[in-house]
Symmetry: D2
């Protein structure tokens, strides 16, 4: 089978990074106790506690949809609601998983610029209704970085968590690309999360270079009660857990989680800088992580496609390019060249 030539449609197109692979290989020696009672799982949990400099509770789920939904279900009863951006992944790309796992919790959507919630928008939605005919707000969910590739500053997160505390809301961070946000901001994982008031984080492994797996991190351990039962019942307890856990041990241990993300971010910046000079091409959002959103004429996107490039488009008109831990400069250059060529020629 021939490998597919690199595209920048999704960071999910990339495979398993060498460190994750080596860790799985190492974990594959002999037998290990099932369902997370193995030493890899224990070590991975400790590695997270070291990274976040706090006693936190760690669980592993197979993918981000499950991780986010399980967290929301654990924080909400069915008659509660979750405040999120109108472009949040939990709203636009999880096929109703949060509502399914929570047995009906409603998502309340805040109009947002490039995916960022603000304290003001949260307050406005949370205080709009207080009668029993409408689901009671219970959680705020932010995506870091946002679906448009922007990164909340620590101050922005702190402002959000303050309004959450004031209004009795919990704060969830969807960190499918949390590593990219860490590589982007000059702060520690602790500063960006629990020190800024985040209650629960979903820390993405898949887009960071693993085969599968997201870590769910409860900074308030009282919220983690029985979460293991919830994972089990929802089909998210891996029997051979070591293969979800071992990659974290190595990647958190040797820093490759951050290097992978930094590489992807750098690729995005490099591409964005080149693309920004192409006639009729405009950056739509700030390039602060590994995503680049370009506004360009429809005809130009068609031409790009006819030259073999694969990418997602979005409502309003534009193209998304995502960079991964393994993005190749040569392919980025090729994409830039094609863009430039089209910028010159297309009328």
């Amino acid at each position: 089978m021939n490998e597919v030539e690199q595209q920048f449609a999704s960071d999910n197109y990339a495979g398993i990074c060498p460190d994750a692979w080596a860790a799985m290989d190492e974990a594959n020696r002999g037998h290990a106790t099932a369902y997370g009672a193995d030493q890899w799982t224990a070590k991975a949990s400790d590695a997270f506690r070291d990274l976040f400099e706090t006693r936190c509770e760690i669980f592993f789920a197979f993918n981000g949809t499950a991780a986010n939904s399980l967290v929301l279900a654990s924080l909400c009863q069915s008659y509660h609601s979750v405040i999120c951006s109108d472009s949040a992944h939990i709203e636009t790309d999880e096929c109703g998983a949060p509502e399914f796992f929570s047995n009906g919790s409603k998502l309340l959507l805040a109009p947002s610029t490039n995916g960022k919630l603000t304290a003001g928008a949260i307050r406005s939605i949370a205080t709009k209704r207080s009668d029993i005919h409408f689901p009671k707000p219970r959680v705020v969910s932010i995506t870091q970085p946002t679906e448009m590739g922007e990164v909340y500053t620590v101050d922005e997160i702190r402002a959000i968590s303050e309004v959450c505390r004031e209004l009795g809301l919990r704060l969830h961070m969807d960190g499918a690309r949390f590593a990219n946000a860490c590589a982007s901001l000059d702060c520690s994982p602790a500063e960006m999360t629990w020190q800024a008031g985040v209650d629960v984080l979903c820390f993405g492994g898949t887009k960071n270079g693993m085969a599968f797996g997201e870590a769910v991190i409860f900074f308030d351990s009282s919220l983690a009660a029985d979460f293991d039962y919830r994972c089990k019942q929802a089909g998210q307890l891996a029997s051979k857990m070591r293969f979800l856990a071992a990659p974290w041990v190595r990647m958190l241990g040797n820093g490759s989680w951050l290097r992978n993300a930094a590489h992807a971010n750098a690729c995005a910046r490099r591409f964005a800088e080149a693309a920004a000079h192409v006639p009729r091409v405009h950056l739509i959002s700030k390039v602060e992580a590994n995503a680049v959103f370009l506004k360009m004429p429809e005809s130009m996107m068609e031409e790009l496609r006819s030259r073999g490039w694969v990418f997602y488009t979005f409502i309003g008109g534009g193209a998304r390019f995502m960079f991964a831990w393994d993005s190749l400069p040569v392919r980025i250059n090729a994409l830039v060249e094609d863009l430039k060529d089209l910028g010159r020629s297309v009328v």
Copy 2:
């Protein structure tokens, strides 16, 4: 980290077999389209169609709890019920997952000998109530091999499917160890499933030597409608699907799925034959797959544990030993020797 010395507590203690590992390695070259739109997923689906000699619809889930529950949820509405053995995994070891995924479908338990349902027991349960105050029977679920390690013959399955057809019930086979049943019976996968009247099969990969992953196989493709949406919503759609799919391509292709199972079964037989001659030790169920259930005095089990052996016990008193694709003769011999030694000495 030191590897754990082989135990026979669970076939989940084993790691990834060489063929599954090589397949993941091969699939890890370069990029691939996400969410199952890759060539590995297509090839794995075709490999199942070849193996089962029919046009069937294939989906991949992360684990067996999810695979079983998604199937039951797709066959049932919330007010339906599922007839299964009182020792069925879906009843005893999935933490209410079937009820959770289906939003309330009830399991109706048939008392069973060594986990086997019979046509008579199904009829009796299915016809006991027909008023709206009790959930309407909709599905029969059998485990092949059973949780007690016995294997339904093709005739037994056919007798069950006949009563299902007569009563308007669908037939689901939980095949977490389906390969072991195939290695045990002298028949083709097709004969044991759709030709015998099975509607949907969950074919276990994890216990067969993979890291993760079960295949859901709909033999009646009308039942598969929208199952992809169901998987996605329930957090069971892998973004890097190729790593769930590729092991099947190789293992179904080169026969290692069956060899792995045959090895495990042979280990179980070998152990059972030796154990059966130990004084005060008795086989509880027939050894037809990779499980051996032994009745022995409580004191003997304690002695075994004090010698470092790990195993599950069960209600009624006894010990379970499960053999895997990698079970080592030397460890089996060591266990047998310890048993014999205890058989001689324990009073």
Copy 3:
């Protein structure tokens, strides 16, 4: 206990009309078989079949939230979605009941003028996404009359049902005030429903003058399969069903269902005509049923309240007045006089 002086905050403030009361009294003679196997339930079902001039399937639920949600749950799987107006009762005032009953079906909201969906808006929403990462549209739900008191014409309903048929969607009508729509339009119940392409109707009894109870009417009887089980499981099967059913027998039989609604509609028109002449007061939507929505200065609403009037306000600024089967001209006049008085004096 003193009775509360009539308000026009909600048509739910009204009690049981004389015909409904007399029917309950009559049904209360002696014993009757429970759970709907009584003659009143049979007669009520036949009365609906006469009214709608077709063989339809009838079920009774305790309230409108349950009736709507049960219907949506029966038409949808959890990964489906329902297209409705952004002001639909199922979205704004049922506390997530549709999502709860359906175990996660998402409501897709169309921006609407005065609550009316259009064929164009439906098509736009239904065709926006077709990938498995977003819930699959399955049902369109319209409220007749809308929450803003406007009535879909038969042609408008037909246009909607045509796009539904084309796109494979089912059409649900939330008729909490269906009688008011019938009294408003010059057409038969049949013309406004199944002849115009409606698949299922929730026909409200409570606001029509009963103590409790809504009828669910399936015009396509294949959709009604097992709906009785669904009602039972969801706590909507009345043991003393005759008391839900008997009022329908009498009220459909002697036409009081329509007279009650016509009275309420006439009160709304009468009030609206008078209010429209008050300075600084404006009608927001057409008065086609029993609701009147008035835009007026905030100070004026405060003054009204200080004079003892109770009413709901809505986002954007304005007051809602609802009229019931028993609305008293003298109270309407009193409200009009207060409005006029405030219109003259408030600056």
Copy 4:
């Protein structure tokens, strides 16, 4: 329409008692605020607080299935389980409603004699499993009186609540016929409930002589948090709540709740005493409330039916007779006479 001649198949065959009817009539004067913000609902709640001599939180649901299921859903998460008798109504006659409302909580069944749970049986079930592969026990549910018409003594309830406290379980009482238990035991409602350790009671109104309606009484008010939202979302919030509430005001106020139950109980005793002397007829359970269970030959039951009597039979062979607030001595005598006649003649 002719009334049906009195049968003793179910106490649901009886209609609305005069006090409940008069209360609804009185409540039907004029307007009242909707959704429970009316004076009848406030007065009914106070009446319960007086009756139970404590500050408790009161909610109203339409029927017993909903009341029980809402309570269990509020006490459990989806991965929890509920311990109950194998003949509990929540298990045998609610069509999976508890599992539906709770999104999957499993019922763990204790074999029981005449429906009574014991502290020993609870302990045995609750401690059988403590791993995450099986739903975690969270609630014990007892039916008072049991489905077989026996009444738990205060000491029995206290013994159960003690084991509940010890094991961290909540205690729910399904009191669909709670009034009958009160009339049977020489104790106050307080002694039988919160003073004996019951956390939540569902107090049945329907079988006590109302048209519809059950009261949910939380003795631990922290458990009642947001229960109003839960009722609303589940379609159990009556808009014209006064008609559910007013009957309680009058019936608790003037003692008719207890007189109704005492009458029914007396009828049951009277019938049981006569039936016990009929040849080949045997009492199966103690007659402590309004139910009488008779074992008799199948041929005798057929003869009874052919003489026009309607009754339920049960697994194992026997007939159930239930007496209501309005059971007529003349009809009881007629039934006794028929039984005696058959006892003499049938061979």
